[in-house]
């Protein structure tokens, strides 16, 4: 297990170092390229700097886990990547179509679960006659077979989040952006969905940015773990996860790296306490 930590501020050459360490070089195009991305919110007369000078590149087919204290701008960053929001400074480039999964399920309450998925398919341009079958497949893949006729409110929080995952997968995105998708799930369901996500990722040549508060989950899923500092949000550190897949949350290597990252996270939070 190689462990590559790049502490300190966002350095462009540091990112390149990480890319080089993963052994790909310039053959693969970057799926995501952020340079100096900043986002300032105006709240009344005050300015809230949510993001400040984020430099980050994500290779095609890579899973990047994004960690950081609450309020450090992770959701804001995903919003920018999904094209829902514009950076106030810097540039964000995303190659390919994005799919976004929100912190809350964000399913349409007036549609059934299947209707939600079929809407995603429709907006993607899938012909009407193919939608039903595809929707059933997607439902089965998140273990919601037979729940297609339910409305979102008739499901438990965990099932709702699985339906939201199915809807995000329905977009057949090149870049999947996930905002704490499994935070509300029990351990078992979460494990199943980790495996499912990994399977989809392997089959579809997905690139993914996965936001989580769970350090072990970040290590379990990511090829790389990116740590954001807060106020303003910056890239504080990056860790390459060189652990063979399939991984499990209980794996020794996963826990070892998680411990290292956690202590780094603590240091980051303490730095804020001193400020």
């Amino acid at each position: 297990m190689t462990l590559l930590e790049r502490a300190g501020g966002p350095l462009v050459d540091g990112t390149e170092l990480a890319v080089a360490a993963a052994g790909d070089g310039a053959t693969k195009r970057d799926a995501i390229l952020l340079s100096g991305v900043g986002r300032v919110f105006r709240r009344g007369s005050t300015r809230v700097v949510a993001l400040d000078g984020i430099d980050l590149s994500v290779r095609r087919g890579e899973i990047v886990s994004l960690l950081g204290a609450s309020g450090c701008g992770k959701s804001t960053l995903l919003g920018i990547l999904a094209g829902l929001d514009q950076p106030t400074s810097g540039t964000a480039t995303v190659h390919g179509r994005t799919g976004l999964m929100f912190q809350e399920s964000a399913l349409f309450p007036w549609l059934t679960v299947r209707g939600n998925i079929e809407t995603a398919l429709r907006l993607r341009g899938v012909a009407r006659r193919d939608r039903r079958g595809l929707a059933e497949e997607l439902l089965a893949s998140v273990h919601l077979h037979g729940f297609g006729n339910r409305r979102p409110h008739e499901l438990s929080g965990g099932m709702r989040q699985r339906a939201a995952l199915a809807r995000a997968l329905a977009q057949d995105a090149d870049v999947l952006l996930m905002d704490e998708p499994f935070a509300a799930l029990d351990a078992i369901t979460r494990e199943v969905l980790h495996a499912e996500l990994e399977r989809q990722w392997g089959e579809r040549d997905l690139t993914a940015v996965f936001v989580t508060h769970d350090v072990r989950e970040a290590v379990r899923l990511g090829d790389r773990v990116v740590l954001l500092s807060s106020r303003p949000g910056r890239v504080a550190a990056e860790f390459v996860v060189d652990i063979e897949r399939p991984r499990r949350m209980e794996d020794h290597a996963v826990n070892e790296l998680a411990a290292v990252i956690t202590s780094r996270l603590h240091a980051e939070v303490q730095r804020h306490a001193r400020d």
Binding site: A106, F108, P109, W110, A120, R124, H143, R151, M159
Partner: protein, 296 residues
């Protein structure tokens, strides 16, 4: 199955089974009471209220506050209602009035929805007409009649004009308010799925504002019905013995039982439309959206 070593259980299979088990725990169905029970539960408070109103009415009559020929009691009025229904005159009057209501309200729905949709979609229109529409809504419909009579003389057109004008602003406002109150998360969600412009409007904004649109339709109906009654009293069209005409005739002839009987019909129609049409639709939407506390 006989293997007790936990390590040898195929992980994927056992996980799938467990997830199915968890789901089964999650969504246990409870049996619903039968349709008859539910109907009775919905109906008895209404029937009780009706009974109470009748008792109150009879008490006022018995108190001799007004003489019988001015304020008749239920025992005089209900036979009158039955007689009027039998003779066919009341039915004919009701049909004439309901036809007007249906046409006028339909015009209002089409116009109101179209204007509401346009104003809620285009910011400039919004700025220009938003408060104007609210202003129109507060305008008492009776104030339109002089103009309506000037424009259309004493005709069906004058009545339709006022009925539509009374209801359309409320309906348009329902659409506008609805699109103002779409949760941003749902709009973002639709945008993230790739919906833009008209597609986003159709996929997210319109369905999300359905409860508010329905509220507008309901309010619009109330305005339409009131305007129609005012119109039928003011604009009497020849050979159209509508409910309003009956009301006017009853007053002219000092026929109190017929007057009250006609008023009861007006009230019953209002209640029926509200509870059969709008309340049912409202309940269906609230249920679909999960806005009804299932424990109640």
């Amino acid at each position: 199955m006989t293997d007790v070593r936990t390590g040898s259980v195929p992980v994927s299979l056992s996980l799938d089974d467990e997830i199915a088990g968890l789901d089964a725990l999650d969504v246990a169905d409870a049996r619903l009471p039968g349709a008859g029970v539910r109907l009775w539960k919905a109906a008895w408070p209404k029937l009780a209220a009706l009974g109470l109103a009748l008792v109150l009415w009879q008490l006022i009559v018995w108190s001799r506050w007004k003489p019988d020929y001015v304020l008749p009691g239920p025992r005089v009025v209900f036979p009158q209602v039955v007689d009027d229904l039998r003779s066919g005159k009341l039915v004919r009057a009701t049909l004439i009035t309901l036809r007007r209501a249906a046409i006028g309200y339909s015009i209002a729905v089409v116009v109101g929805l179209a204007i509401g949709a346009m104003v809620s979609r285009w910011r400039t229109l919004r700025v220009a007409f938003g408060s104007f529409i609210t202003g129109l809504q507060t305008m008492p419909s009776i104030a339109w009649f002089p103009l309506a009579i000037l424009l259309f003389q004493k005709s069906e057109g004058a009545i339709m004009f006022v009925v539509a004008l009374g209801a359309a602003p409320a309906i348009a406002n329902g659409v506008i308010t609805g699109s103002d109150h779409v949760p941003p998360l749902l709009t973002r969600s639709g945008t993230a799925l790739g919906a833009r412009g008209l597609n986003l409007y159709r996929t997210v904004t319109l369905p999300a504002s359905l409860p508010s649109v329905l509220g507008g339709l309901k309010q619009g109906w109330a305005f339409a019905w009131r305007s129609l009654m005012a119109g039928e009293l003011l604009v009497i069209v020849a050979r159209s013995p509508s409910i309003g005409v009956r009301l006017q005739n009853a007053r002219d002839l000092a026929d109190a039982p017929q007057l009250v009987a006609t008023m009861i019909v007006i009230l019953v129609i209002g209640i029926c439309v509200d509870s059969l049409l709008f309340a049912t639709a409202e309940h269906a939407i609230r249920k679909r959206w999960g806005l009804i506390d299932p424990s109640r």
